[in-house]
Symmetry: D2
Subunit: 137 residues, 4 copies
């Protein structure tokens, strides 16, 4: 399975099934068996009081990047998040940001990933770090 | 401090400063020193593939409910999330859902909360559970 | 299944299979389908610099209390911890402490629990709070 | 500060203040401003039913490795763990294991680290991964 989950198909599936990605202006840039990459674009929709990126946008980016990784690697659109822990390390001010998910475990029932969210440009500082477990269907 | 952070003022502050609450249609229903309650309304914007509530909406509800609790109790609009762990326990199908945040620690520097997300009606089953730490300013 | 996992049998199984419970002087006090309770006894083995209870003892208590709960409820000695998040809320100074685990999810593949660690006597203040997911065998 | 916290001094401080490191036979191998490394030695004290390494030993290794890192970098023996999330990825069978902690944030009040626990020899597979936040004193 998973053989047909090209980046283009993943993009369409996520755009159609997850309206929040359009609301937050998140773009899946890459997805294969070993990593997935998503961009958080600048815009008023991502802000919180103080003018920095809101935590829920970073969470959404980590969650959707992992979903793209699972689609590319396992081809399981019915996989669901069991849990996710996210640490917010620096205020996100310099957008766009990039969320990159890599596998920690690819089991028969459980899939685990680590996600780093960094600035796209300049020093590429680490803004947030997440770890997440998913149940495969 | 915090004496002026009435529910009405909290609602305005969040509506103006956090555009994602309008995008997701989240309503702060209550906020005082001991708990805050937020409603996730039904609508296409909250869904993921499979027709259930997407994880990022539940994360956003937990995060914003905690922010409302901190505003009501401590009156610190510049408090920021240090981390948040969320466990997704059941598929959220019967909206609206209610996120209720209660304090676990109210320190001088750190504020911690537990958030339960349940169905508003019927059996009021537990959909997700979160724990979060915030840094006060 | 699980019908034979009485408190006495659980105590023997844990004492024989988990040497750390003797090293830390942890006692399983109760275990049934809805909760399990474990006591952290006072002694030099539980301390860290500053004379308070060390984090790893609290983690061990949360983990073993959940294992006792799974034995009592599901009867699966081969269940393994997928992950555990623990928040340390107050310095543990007044021992003994009690760890109480309750189920959050009892699925076919995944078992999730919440664990509260409190002082046994006096104000029974909350010292730590944990959430954990286990894979059933 | 921190200028005097050599590896030798860190070893003595931990051996004297944290009896669990002797009970579990954990050795701090290295500690400087950028990483700390600790070894989990083989022995019956680290086992759980099934003959694999028990979760609490891995938690203890992650927690103590981070403490050694904080001593080496910040020189704050009164720093305390705020929270720790640990993911158990593979059964630990081939000891010794190595826990390596690296900083994610070194703030004035908060210190955050990522800890990888791997096999020391052979394929050096990843056994567990942790993220932790500490409050500096």
């Amino acid at each position: 399975m998973g053989q047909d989950w090209t980046l283009a198909r993943i993009g369409v599936h996520i755009a159609e099934g997850l309206p929040l990605t359009a609301l937050f202006d998140l773009d899946v840039l890459a997805a294969d068996a070993d990593h997935a990459r998503l961009r958080i674009n600048a815009g008023p929709q991502v802000l919180r009081p103080g003018g920095i990126v809101a935590g829920p946008i970073l969470f959404a980016a980590a969650d959707v990047a992992t979903y793209a990784l699972i689609l590319a690697r396992v081809g399981d659109p019915d996989a669901v998040t069991v849990d996710l822990t996210i640490n917010f390390l620096r205020a996100g001010r310099n957008l766009p940001l990039i969320a990159e998910a890599v596998p920690l475990r690819a089991g028969r029932r459980l899939f685990s990933a680590s996600v780093a969210i960094t600035e796209q440009d300049g020093e590429r500082r680490l803004i947030a770090q997440a770890t997440t477990n998913w149940a495969l269907s």
